[in-house]
């Protein structure tokens, strides 16, 4: 029998746990309301006296490295998702820890993937206590079925940096998979047989963790340049045959959707940016790798050409379509967090205008500003959005974990946040009365674009005014919702919510925005 968990009501009207994995939590207070105090966390002071003067930090394998780090029960091990579905290092590190007999670890990946479902064995056997990071597929089900000992914690990319920096999460051992590294621990993601682009997700870990391991399948003589990760922060280097399966790391070419409805959504988004006057010389935008987002870039590119308009910068995940924009001179820069396809990887390695960024510069909310709020527009997806523009991106409508938050929450800070969503999926309306899991507050979501019309948040009177006279199908969100419910055969039943919290959704400032509940 699990102990009763005390709940509190947050400013979004959601019940959230007061205590998670033994740490007291601050309930969400509203956008920009929570004022952090104190000083940042820091890694322990080390001395060069304890590291080899010749710079060679190579040890024979991960087990040895973990032992030399003093791995103990209850520690926090971190990994990163820049190798995505192809990653081999996270499970290799966790299994090495299991071999050493460690128990009750917290696994702190920047994101987990269904390909890492091997972690379930380690959760079952007690090696891992809980996961703080995105969970989907089998790991998502494991969590929402209430089988994880501790509670899951989901954070945005920026929120992960914030949590590390603010000392909410103390990383004992960071294990960084590096497509190229030298014996000193300098590491780079843009070259090597497992090249993936940027290593930004591992940067915070390299700065704040007690111990830092670099694992590579392309060990080069010093110096490895560019050093996205600095060897001066690294304890040990481990060489392995392969850090990941390149075929599953990046898409060969990210594919544009062929669905007429999705193409229509993409075209509406591009036309909206044009008609609202957001697409103008020197503007900036961010688009992800989803089919709609890619297609949107293609439409926008055509409109930029026709209007003779050039962007100052665009933000990745980079894809072939953003790279084309850069190479055609339609943007001055790509500021890139991760490369989604081989064109993105190639461009990052070769083009000085294609720049690596980290979650610190891009998204960290507890910093002196970040890039996300400087974007003119961002195009995002969602699983549900409600009539008050609140959105859910982490769970299915039935409460099962579906996606990580990624940079989704961080991007809500953009000047114009657009959710590009189909109006229903498999008869399930996307526009609902109330979202299952609140991931983004409606006050930050400006426009919802569906294949049946575009709804503008009534708070954005300026946008409403700017597109007056446009031929776009601007409608109220209630109107679109009513049409969908007509098509789908009425309002859907509400699935029964569980009573036991299994995970929490953090807001970008570390407060608790919502709870994921156990489902049967």
């Amino acid at each position: 029998m699990a102990p009763k968990i005390e709940l509190q009501l947050n400013a979004a009207g959601r019940m959230v746990p007061a205590m998670v994995n033994g740490r007291p939590q601050i309930p969400y207070l509203g956008v920009g309301k929570y004022q952090p105090r104190g000083r940042k966390a820091a890694a322990p002071i080390r001395t060069a006296a304890n590291y080899p003067a010749d710079g060679n930090k190579v040890v024979q394998d991960l087990e040895t490295a973990l032992r030399q780090c003093g791995l103990r029960d209850g520690m926090v091990i971190s990994n990163h998702h820049h190798l995505r579905h192809g990653d081999r290092i996270a499970l290799m590190a966790l299994r090495a820890a299991a071999k050493l007999g460690a128990k009750d670890l917290t696994w702190f990946p920047s994101a987990s993937f269904p390909s890492q479902q091997g972690a379930i064995e380690l959760l079952d056997s007690g090696v891992i206590n809980h996961i703080e990071g995105s969970m989907e597929g089998p790991l998502g089900d494991y969590c929402t079925q209430g089988r994880m000992r501790g509670m899951g914690v989901l954070r945005s990319h920026g929120g992960r940096w914030q949590a590390i920096q603010d000392g909410e999460v103390h990383i004992d051992v960071a294990v960084i998979a590096a497509p190229t590294a030298d014996v000193f621990g300098n590491a780079d993601g843009s070259q090597g047989k497992s090249a993936c682009g940027a290593l930004g997700f591992a940067l915070a870990d390299s700065l704040y963790a007690d111990h830092v391991l670099v694992v590579t399948d392309n060990l080069v003589p010093f110096p490895c340049v560019p050093w996205q990760i600095q060897g001066n922060n690294v304890d040990y280097v481990v060489e392995v045959d392969s850090i990941g399966d390149p075929a599953r790391m990046v898409c060969r070419t990210a594919q544009i959707t062929r669905s007429p409805a999705r193409l229509r959504i993409a075209e509406f988004v591009a036309r909206f940016l044009r008609d609202a006057g957001i697409m103008r010389n020197g503007f900036s935008f961010q688009a992800g790798a989803g089919g709609v987002a890619l297609a949107f870039v293609v439409y926008l590119k055509q409109m930029m050409r026709e209007a003779g308009v050039k962007a100052r910068f665009v933000r990745g995940g980079s894809t072939k379509y953003l790279v084309e924009l850069l190479e055609e001179g339609l943007t001055d820069y790509i500021l890139d967090g991760e490369s989604f396809d081989v064109d993105g990887v190639r461009s990052l390695a070769n083009n000085r205008q294609h720049v690596v960024t980290s979650p610190f510069v891009s998204y960290n909310y507890h910093g002196k500003g970040n890039f996300a709020s400087m974007l003119d527009a961002v195009v995002l997806g969602a699983t549900e959005v409600d009539v008050n523009f609140n959105a859910n991106v982490v769970t299915h409508s039935d409460g099962r974990l579906l996606h990580g938050i990624g940079d989704w929450q961080n991007c809500l800070a953009a000047g114009c946040t657009i959710l590009a969503v189909p109006s229903f999926r498999d008869r399930i309306p996307v526009i609902v009365d109330q979202v299952t899991t609140l991931t983004g507050p409606g006050e930050l979501i400006d426009v919802v674009v569906t294949e049946r019309g575009i709804a503008i948040n009534p708070l954005r009177e300026d946008l409403i005014e700017q597109v007056r006279g446009s031929t776009l199908p601007i409608r109220s969100i209630q109107d679109i919702k009513a049409e969908i419910e007509g098509i789908c055969g009425g309002r859907p039943q509400r699935p029964k919510a569980g009573e036991r919290p299994v995970a929490i959704i953090k807001w970008v400032d570390g407060t608790v925005l919502d709870t994921v509940w156990q489902i049967s």
């Binding site: 409508s397 098509i487 859907p492």
Partner: protein, 413 residues
């Protein structure tokens, strides 16, 4: 694909599709019983949201079909209500029950009847047994949507597709498009008419027409069904010529009935009949296509071309469609939404053509006011035939929303 099987004395019926790659459909299996009422087992990817609704609907549909005792298994992949009704009805009928009965979904308000000379630049084919395409098809605004019961439907699924298309004519809004149905070749097509005609499609395409009597047979059956169901509005016909003989009889076919609104061709079947390859340039079908245009014009109906099959080659489509317009076609079939804007663009007159037509008409009006029958524009003589062509172009441009000035034809000629 199995439709029915004997189990003891009662037949089992099933209809619809399920599986990981299936969306918006439902598989229904039904075994009639002597007693015990209706027992429904429902699997659905939307069970948490619409499970109760689906059960209630299934019970209602069975009640309407007079089925009171049966075991029913439903495997639902997010089918919309009009699909669920159609699949249950198909399964029940395949089980040998409910003959002559219908379970019709609620009827949306019928759109206005379409005029005979409506714009038909793009006619989008939808496979009649794949409901996932129906609900969003009208969003991209092709001039016409063709719900296809013919080639795109497997021969074992004709009965099920017929009910699905019938239900969609009642329950799906296809506005602003013209609602068209391609029936099967006669005599199977006559069975399609029984279900389709009462739902007032705007136009029916009749495939593989070789001679005018086939059109007359369909047309007579349509009038009989309309009379039985109290339908008075016109249902237009468009014969599809698919053979050398059909092309030879093109004019007789085009003028066989006052309900004919257009004449079209299937190039795949026509080139197969000739025993030649269908090429990108299309020289092998040039005669047939010109014959269609000429016969259609002579009969006062529109000439509509076949589909352009390569969805990825939008540039090839554009060139093909420009050629069609130059030959005198008014539209063509299409198979993907991406083709629609390309086709519309190709079939629309250029601004220069519109301006020239307006100058001709204005010049002619001024000449008439001065009592002159003929005038000149630049170095060219303007006579009534040139004015008629200019007026036709302006009318079409108006229908496409390219010209706002109204030029009343009657005042001129």
């Amino acid at each position: 694909m199995s439709s029915s099987a004997e189990t003891g004395t009662k037949r089992v019926g099933e209809a619809g599709r399920w599986g990981d790659d299936v969306r918006s459909d439902v598989h229904v299996w039904i075994e009639p019983r002597e007693r015990g009422g209706i027992d429904i087992v429902l699997e659905s990817r939307v069970k948490a949201y619409y499970g109760d609704t689906i059960r209630r609907q299934a019970e209602n549909v069975l009640e309407q079909l007079g089925v009171h005792h049966a075991q029913v298994l439903m495997h639902d992949e997010g089918a919309l209500p009009f699909v669920i009704s159609a699949r249950i009805e198909a399964a029940v009928k395949r089980a040998g029950l409910a003959q002559g009965k219908r379970a019709l979904p609620d009827q949306l308000p019928l759109p206005e009847p379409t005029p005979r000379d409506r714009l038909r630049r793009s006619c989008l084919y939808l496979p009649g047994n794949q409901p996932k395409y129906f609900i969003n098809a009208a969003l991209d605004a092709p001039d016409g949507i063709i719900l296809d019961l013919d080639d795109s439907v497997h021969s074992a699924e004709k009965d099920a597709a017929r009910l699905l298309v019938r239900n969609s004519l009642r329950a799906v809004s296809f506005l602003p498009c013209e609602r068209m149905v391609r029936i099967n070749q006669l005599p199977l097509g006559l069975e399609d008419l029984e279900e389709i005609v009462p739902e007032c499609p705007d136009l029916i395409l009749i495939p593989r027409v070789k001679a005018p009597n086939q059109v007359l047979e369909a047309s007579q059956r349509i009038e009989e069904i309309k009379a039985r169901h109290g339908v008075s509005r016109t249902i237009w016909l468009m014969p599809i010529l698919e053979s050398a003989l059909g092309i030879e009889n093109a004019f007789k076919i085009a003028s066989a009935s006052a309900q004919i609104a257009g004449l079209t061709i299937s190039l795949e079947d026509y080139t197969a009949d000739l025993g030649v390859a269908k090429t990108a340039v299309g020289n092998e079908s040039l005669f047939a296509r010109q014959r269609i245009v000429n016969s259609a014009r002579a009969a006062g109906v529109a000439a509509i071309d076949s589909v352009f099959g390569d969805v990825d080659d939008l540039e090839g489509l554009r060139v093909w469609a420009l050629n069609l317009r130059a030959l005198g076609f008014e539209g063509m079939g299409c198979v993907h939404a991406l083709q629609i804007p390309v086709i519309h663009q190709a079939f629309q007159p250029t601004q220069e053509e519109i301006n020239q037509a307006l100058r001709i008409v204005t010049g002619f009006q001024e000449a008439q006011q001065k009592g002159l029958g003929v005038t000149t524009l630049g170095s060219k003589m303007i006579d009534p035939s040139i004015v008629r062509r200019a007026l036709k172009l302006i009318e079409r441009a108006q229908a496409m929303g390219l010209v706002s000035t109204s030029v009343p034809r009657s005042s001129l000629l």
